[in-house]
Subunit: 179 residues, 2 copies
DNA sequence: GTCTATAGGAAGATAGAC
DNA sequence: GTCTATCTTCCTATAGAC
């Protein structure tokens, strides 16, 4: 149910998703949702946990690659692979961050940012191992480029923006001169 | 009232803004809003017109600068000047695009993208005049960087991301070798 | 044109049968 | 644990007085 919740919240948006939508996606009666989650906020938190888990799984896989540069290139390759999803619904974490920013009354406004922070930290660690100057700045630039290309791809409904920007990011990584 | 509408929709988000909120911001009774706008969708369209108008005004001002490179640097400088707004509420057009993507039932899902398209086209024209190869690609990269840094600045509540990324973008423009 | 009061409907949440 | 029926609240939109 957590997986279905995360998917529906991404596709329809947090505010436009009803409990009935989530119940339908999970194939249970509407009222039943409240047996597992007391409020809609708890459903959002479950989706955030799902995203955090996906991120942990992804970075654990990438960590198996020996070279930090190859890890970053594989990360970018994964983004491009999801280009059709990005063009249709945007980056799951990015769009969630935009929506949750408005829910400061629930105290959820910073929750998505914490997940993004983890990804930035992981990317910064790779740049550090490469011996790059200002690894944190490079990480913010890379994740920023990802968020920007996802948003533009979505707003302009053009998946090829992901392809072209992804290729550019990989070229820049190859050109990055370190140690 | 259109200006107040655009501001409130940006600060609170489209979905979490009620007609009563807009009425309060414009200092009129709630029911009165419907004398000017028949539906909430029309209020959103009014906000989009406001953003389009602001964009026209901005590019008209920038067009008075003689050098296309200086125009782009001034555009970036304007983004950095708005860093506190970006950190608190995100880019007005970008966050609107994310929210409207979910409103395909109203046919508003592509409306924000059309405004962003105008900005991309204007930026591409500046690169073209500079004699750069692939002006369209460079424009998408620049606007993507802006959207990405605004989203990260907002999600991580850090206006300095705007400062640092803005400085990087200006350095890259200075380094851009053309003609 | 401006305002108050309220209708109508949607969605979050709950009660209680099974 | 699972499900149906329903309560409650909130918000869009309208009716109608002034």
């Amino acid at each position: 149910m957590t997986t279905a919740t995360a998917r529906v919240l991404h596709e329809q948006g947090v505010e436009r998703t009803t409990i009935a939508d989530i119940a339908r996606a999970a194939d249970v009666p509407t009222g039943n949702v409240y047996y597992y989650f007391k409020t809609k906020d708890e459903l959002i938190e479950a989706a955030l946990s799902e995203h955090t888990g996906n991120l942990e799984t992804l970075t654990a896989q990438l960590d198996r690659l020996p070279d930090p540069r190859e890890r970053l290139k594989a990360l970018i390759g994964g983004w491009v692979d999801q280009k059709d999803m990005a063009a249709r619904h945007g980056c799951p974490m990015g769009t969630l961050a935009v929506e949750l920013d408005k829910r400061y009354e629930d105290g959820l406004d910073l929750a998505a940012g914490q997940v993004i922070r983890r990804l930035v930290d992981w990317v910064a660690e790779q740049y550090r191992r490469l011996g790059a100057a200002d690894p944190e700045g490079l990480a913010l630039t890379l994740i920023g480029a990802y968020q920007g290309m996802s948003l533009l791809s979505n707003a302009l409904r053009d998946p090829e923006i992901m392809t072209r920007e992804g290729a550019r990011l990989i070229r820049e990584l190859d050109a990055l001169d370190v140690v």
